[in-house]
């Protein structure tokens, strides 16, 4: 009850993310941004560094690479990526906060930074302690099963089967309590009344292998991360965790179709610079990263990852709004879950 009240207030802003691919491409017009921008006092006079708080092979590592290449393509300024994985992004963020606010070091981070701040306000607030340059990926989640599964074939039969297992059905998910994935699963189990055991897998490959090998009954994931399994026909989605199904998944039931009444949470990835960075440098970085979003190479990358199915682009103000709404939403959810919100 409280949960619903809490999230309704933020629903409109997040709901705006569920635009179609066409809208995403329209955002790429970015008509208000100049095609070129003079370097303020010669900044940057050397290569930039980008701290990535995750490994090079995962979603963050890949988007960091795609964005760095697009920025370099556009500005001819090199970006050296520095991966500092560990602690669900904590290590990289802490290392970044210790760097000078001179604009030469930028940060890639995901919504985990917002949810960590929501739980513990002593953690950096990405909307205040950092300046978002651009949010370049916003995506939704789905529930997947094996295509050759014969115990259930779609969402209704899956729910029915899970209920019959009396809590013994399993789904592969990430491990961190309070994460977007775990909170969303709580929404689903609360809304359907089904009990399902979540199996914690930190890394993608073992998680996908668990479903492919029949170790678990279902998988919670974002479509871009399992695209190869969808294209090869190994996995199929049975629920899209969005109010309305995007065209690419028109035949997969959405939350509305499935009669699930909760506001979806999103995975988002973006690029930041430290608060306190000279304003003229921030402006140049905002221009470079927002303009790079529209580079052909970056758009091709986003498309390959199903990141154009909903509106992925947010400029600085849009990103702050997204982060603030996300923090507020998670705070409400955490309190409702009985977690200690500091």
């Amino acid at each position: 009850m409280n949960l619903r009240k809490t999230i309704i207030g933020t629903a409109i802003a997040l709901g705006a993310a569920t635009f179609t691919a066409g809208t995403a491409m329209a955002a790429c017009a970015t008509a208000d941004l100049p095609g070129e921008m003079e370097k303020p006092d010669g900044f940057p006079a050397r290569a930039l560094s980008m701290i990535v708080p995750y490994g090079p092979a995962g979603g963050s590592g890949q988007v960091a690479q795609a964005m760095a290449e697009a920025v370099t393509e556009l500005t001819k300024v090199s970006i050296n990526r520095d991966h500092k994985p560990g602690g669900s992004g904590t290590v990289g963020l802490t290392a970044y906060m210790a760097t000078p606010a001179d604009g030469y070091t930028v940060l890639e981070h995901i919504d985990d930074a917002a949810s960590a701040h929501a739980l513990d306000s002593s953690r950096p607030n990405p909307a205040e302690d950092l300046i978002p340059l651009v949010t370049s990926q916003i995506t939704f989640s789905q529930i997947y099963i094996r295509t050759n599964e014969d115990r259930f074939t779609d969402w209704p039969s899956f729910v029915e089967w899970v209920k019959a297992q009396d809590g013994k059905a399993t789904i592969a998910n990430v491990s961190k309590e309070g994460s977007m994935e775990r909170v969303t699963m709580k929404f689903i189990t609360d809304a359907t009344g089904m009990q399902i055991q979540q199996i914690s897998f930190d890394k993608g490959a073992p998680r996908y292998g668990a479903l492919a090998g029949g170790q678990v009954d279902a998988l919670f994931e974002q479509p871009g991360d399992v695209r190869k399994f969808l294209d090869s026909g190994m996995f199929k989605p049975i629920l899209t965790i969005l109010k309305d199904a995007p065209e690419a998944f028109a035949d997969v039931p959405s939350l509305t179709d499935a009669g699930l009444d909760f506001e979806p949470l999103f995975r988002f990835r973006g690029f930041y610079v430290a608060a306190g960075t000279p304003e003229d440098r921030v402006k140049w970085l905002q221009w470079a990263f927002q303009k790079a979003y529209c580079e052909e190479s970056y758009q091709a990358y986003n498309e390959s990852k199903f990141m154009t199915l909903i509106e992925s682009f947010r400029d600085t103000e849009g990103s702050k709004e997204l982060i603030n709404n996300t923090v507020a939403q998670y705070r409400g959810v955490y309190k409702d879950m009985g977690l200690e919100v500091k």
Partner: protein, 508 residues
């Protein structure tokens, strides 16, 4: 016959193009060199090269990475043997016996064994990969879930307790110390922070690469420095006396066993060559009639470890190519190479790009064979580094280890961890504890805790669930029997407990 024809086709494509040949040999040499430098591993080379592969054809890009993978896993053996610095975690067990062989003037034999066995392990697993990628991949992920992997880790730890320590208790205490270090950081179930004392950097846990460099390289420098100060130092004798075929033939069973172990570990997503090397070594200890001499310079230790870790390379390509599941960091980067060329590894790659698959298979086959040729030439040269006097060599090793620790994540705390481990290792070795056991506990502990938590969730928190999974049950029984055997050996047999006569300055 079709496989053979495909292989010939892949070979012709590989060597019929001068650019392909250049990339192939660049990968062979680059993998060996980067693999040999601690911290700056084949992963560093792969990360540097990743953006450039966009400018190569898909065949060349993926072939380059697969070649680096094969030769990089071997490369770390050389520094492990000559200086007690494993180039990568999968070479750590190689140092257990390889370095004592160097101190004993048998560096050439150890390096030669590493070259031969890396080539054999890699080539055989590559051949199996060519014939049976799809069915093996499907079987592996169905048969080996978290309960089976946990049971495998438990079995490995049970055997490992007997490696390198003076007594039964010191062996187990060493393992337990490693397990304790492994629990620092986020727990694998709820992401709860443990033992990080409000230090954000420790939230990621203690990384095993600086720990290995500290326990092995730094503590060894302290040990040798102490000897130098007390006049007990003896420079290792230079030797380029490679093992004969007959010598290696005597250990054919160890080679076959390690190929099988390495292969099974390699095909499990997220496990890979490190567990393969440790398990290969452990099994060599377990089945040996001369267990007490492991850790003191038995060539069988080098053979087992190097065969197993290279055997894992071909195997790791199976889940990658057949299912799109990378087994480790390098194979995960290979996914990136595929994606740069608008491809995804997985079942469709065999249908859509069979030529590419067979170029990769051929490249890996010849990369493993070239370990023999280039490896021997490299070894003949690099062994001469032992001529450098200790007072010059020690600072170089310390510098390399420091750079290697820092390079892992660019964090100073990793360098601090390395030096703390170095000092701790120095005193622990003097007291008869096993630094190998600690490192093993750390590496297997992380995998073991995660898979135990997953297994418990899957089995609905009932231990009896293991009884319904025959492979897991078999491995657990084998682990308990191993523990029972070592307890019996330590307390009821008349002979001295395991390794009771180990030197105080045993290298592991």
């Amino acid at each position: 016959m079709e496989t053979f024809n495909n292989f010939i086709g892949g070979t012709v494509t590989l060597f019929g193009d001068p650019i392909g040949i250049l990339i192939f040999f660049g990968g062979v040499v680059g993998g060996m060199l980067f693999g040999a430098i601690p911290g700056v591993s084949m992963l560093t080379l792969a990360a540097i090269l990743l953006p450039f592969t966009a400018h190569l054809s898909a065949e060349h890009g993926i072939m380059l990475f697969s070649v680096i993978y094969c030769t990089g896993v071997y490369g770390g053996a050389i520094t492990a043997i000559l200086f007690n610095i494993p180039g990568a975690p999968e070479n750590a067990p190689t140092a257990f016996d390889g370095y004592p062989m160097t101190l004993d003037g048998r560096a050439g034999k150890a390096v030669g064994a590493a070259v031969m066995c890396s080539a054999i392990g890699g080539t055989v697993s590559c051949i199996i990969m060519m014939f049976a990628t799809a069915p093996i991949a499907g079987w592996a992920i169905s048969a080996f879930g978290p309960p089976e992997i946990f049971a495998l880790v438990f079995f490995g730890l049970a055997v490992a307790a007997s490696v390198g320590a003076k007594t039964f208790w010191k062996g187990w205490l060493s393992i337990m110390a490693g397990l304790m270090i492994a629990v620092v950081g986020l727990d694998p179930v709820g992401g709860i922070e443990r033992y990080n004392f409000n230090m954000p950097y420790l939230a990621a846990g203690i990384h095993f690469i600086p720990t290995i460099l500290g326990f092995f390289a730094v503590s060894e420098i302290f040990v040798q420095a102490e000897k130098k100060a007390t006049g007990a130092y003896k420079a290792p004798k230079l030797s380029v006396d490679f093992p004969t075929f007959k010598e290696l033939w005597l250990h054919k069973i160890a080679v076959i066993r390690s190929i099988i172990i390495g292969f099974f570990c390699g095909i499990l997503p997220g496990i890979g060559a490190t567990l393969a090397a440790f398990m290969g070594y452990n099994e060599a200890v377990r089945w040996s009639k001369d267990r007490i001499n492991f850790g003191k310079g038995k060539i069988e230790g080098v053979i087992s470890s190097e065969t197993a870790n290279n055997s894992a390379t071909g195997a790791a390509m199976i889940p990658l190519l057949a299912l799109g599941l990378p087994g480790g960091a390098l194979t995960a980067m290979m996914v990136g190479v595929f994606q740069m060329h608008d491809m995804e590894p997985g079942p469709l790659v065999f249908i859509n790009s069979p030529d590419l698959v067979w170029v990769v298979f051929a490249a890996m086959f010849f990369a493993n064979l070239s370990i023999l040729l280039v490896g021997f030439l490299e070894a003949k040269t690099i062994v001469n580094l032992l001529r450098i006097p200790f007072q010059f060599l020690a600072p170089m090793i310390l510098l390399l280890a420091t750079v290697g620790s820092y390079a892992v994540r660019g964090l100073v705390i990793d360098v601090v961890v390395m030096f703390v481990a170095g000092v701790a290792g120095f005193f622990l070795r003097r007291s008869g504890y096993s630094v190998a056991g600690i490192v093993l506990g750390l590496i297997l502990g992380k995998i073991g805790e995660q898979t135990f938590a997953q297994a418990m969730q899957m089995l609905h928190f009932e231990f009896t669930g293991f009884l319904s999974r025959p492979i897991a049950l078999g491995l657990l029984i084998a682990g308990f029997l191993t523990i029972a055997g070592s307890v019996y050996g330590a307390f009821f047999k008349k002979e001295a407990p395991q390794n009771n006569n180990a030197d105080a300055d045993s290298t592991v």
